[in-house]
Amino acid sequence: MIRSAFNRIFGMLIVMALVVTIVFVIVRVTPGDPAAVMLGPDATAADIASLRQRLGLDASIPQQFLSYIGGILRGDFGQSIFLNMPVTDALWQRAEPTFFLTVFSLTIATLIALPVGVLSAYWRGSAFDQAATTLAMFAASIPSFWLGLIFMQFFAVKLGWFDTSGYGGPGASFGERMHHLVLPAVTLGLISSALITRFTRASMLDVLNDDYVRTARSKGMSEWRVVVKHALKNALIPILTVIGLTAALLISGAIVTETVFGLPGVGSLIVSAVLRRDYPLIQGALLVVAGLYVLVNFIIDMLYLIVDPRVRY
């Protein structure tokens, strides 16, 4: 087990190193001078030269790469050009709405997906199963930003239950801020429930025909206990994996949803960074998000290792 753990840690470090390399390379594929692109057509040669120096673009590529890695190891993700502050500070300032948006939408998605997926598998082939499967596929076909706009049009514009956008003023109370998150969280939650439903159904189907489920039944155990205590408990690991990975992937949904609802979160920060060509900020955001994904993946694998002694890496 310890050997497996070391193998897995080694594998994760390699993937992390590759992630850093990819993030570094992405900005270098820019045709022309990144400094000139960032400053736009009106920049003078002197401006460009000074920005080049600030970004360290005058050094050779391997040198730039080394100093980039050095910075990351020290926790220095560079300076945002437009916000004039460290990238980590910029991301941290915007973390609250994104954090709560992710937590709420994941909760909504799980509350829908778990019961629907379990019942779908239990009543496999029934009208319920077919309806649920079709609905899940339908939900996976809806652009999240479009669903957000539909909700906004109906609940905010027509009924006036919510503000159309924003996160409350600067002095808004916690309750007001959360009120602003209702529509975005429902939007994202509904759409991400599709994936979790599919996985819950598939992993339940895997275990429902297993011997121990049959044994539990033949012992005269109630159906409820068979399904929840025996089947669901065993199907839960893959389901939790999907939920964990969905959490990391929700940032993709957050990017568009935050833009739709004008939430000042990490997602909308990334979009404005892209529009302003703020490369250090884009790089930092990519690194943090991909790093979180690799980390979540790693933690899940380690949990497998602890929970199931048969697992080897």
Binding site: P31, L149, V289, N297
Partner: protein, 287 residues
């Protein structure tokens, strides 16, 4: 040897099998209908998608303007048809590009033991980036244009395809006919194309269909955010982003392009699902 292999095994007609699954068939027909509608846009609609008619702006759906008009008085129905050209073409191009890169990487990793670890780790690292995030970062670096959107989304989806190709190649590599071909001295590239790739078509086709669907969604997202194809070229995503500003007065501007995306993506998913069911019976009922 090759002759026997070719005459002895014939792929059953895909279309015939498809017909036995009504949902997949319906999906296929709708996709074809969408493509035909997009291609025949000038024949179907009397309007010019770019023609401004400020006097008839923001009109609700009527018989004259089936889907209403937008902020500049342009016919929304016409623009949905023309946008379909861009959106479907981009989705298709992404599928082709991702398939080429994905097959290449997947074959490398699956067939050559030495390359497996490095290529697989690269695939893992690529898949750590959420699709939209990686795509907008790539478009930001490459510059916004239709070609670059295709490249960016192709790079995003290629690793997913590579994973599937690798997994299947690992199995095929050990099959007796590959060993036989090797023993006969068939050159490796020929083995890869004739014996491995040909037997990969099923999982490849299924995965490619899903990538087609996802690419249409992702392109719409990029265009909506204003970081994709230039706003002058109508796509379903840019139409929705215009409609967003007229949510109160003219919500139909964004209703219909959204509907077009859903119909297209859903039918592609139905086709992909159907393909998976009868190309890989083992998986048929599970997912």
């Amino acid at each position: 040897m090759a002759a026997i292999a070719q005459s002895g095994f014939r792929e059953p007609n895909l279309l015939m099998k498809m017909a036995s699954r009504p949902t997949a068939m319906a999906g296929l027909l709708i996709i074809i209908a969408m493509i035909v509608l997009a291609l025949l846009a000038p024949v179907i609609s009397p309007y010019d998608p770019a023609q401004l008619a400020v006097r008839s702006r923001l009109q609700p759906p009527t018989w004259q303007h089936l889907f209403g008009t937008d902020d500049l008085g342009r016919d929304v129905f016409t623009r949905v048809l023309y946008s379909g050209r861009t959106s479907i073409t981009v989705g298709f191009a992404v599928m082709i590009f991702a398939s080429i890169v994905g097959v290449f990487l997947g074959l490398l990793a699956g067939f050559f033991r030495r390359l497996d670890a490095p290529v697989s780790r690269l695939i893992d690292a690529m898949m750590a980036f959420p699709d939209i995030l990686l795509a907008i970062a790539l478009v930001a670096a490459l510059g916004a244009s239709a070609t670059n959107v295709v490249i960016a989304l192709g790079v995003v989806y290629a690793p997913r395809l590579a994973r599937v190709v690798r997994a299947s190649t690992l199995v095929i590599r050990e099959l007796p006919y590959v060993e036989a071909a090797r023993a006969l001295g068939v050159p490796t590239p020929v083995i890869l194309v004739r014996h491995v790739l040909r037997n990969l078509t099923s999982p490849l086709l299924v995965q490619a269909t899903f990538i087609f669907a996802n690419a249409i969604l992702a392109e719409a997202g990029l265009s909506f955010l204003g970081v994709g194809i230039s706003p002058d070229i109508p796509t379903w995503g840019t139409m929705i982003s215009v409609g967003r500003q007229y949510l109160e007065q003219a919500p139909w501007i964004m209703w219909f392009p959204g509907g077009a995306i859903i119909i297209t993506v859903l039918s592609l998913q139905l086709v992909g699902d159907g393909l998976r069911d009868f190309l890989d019976p083992r998986l048929a009922k599970d997912i």
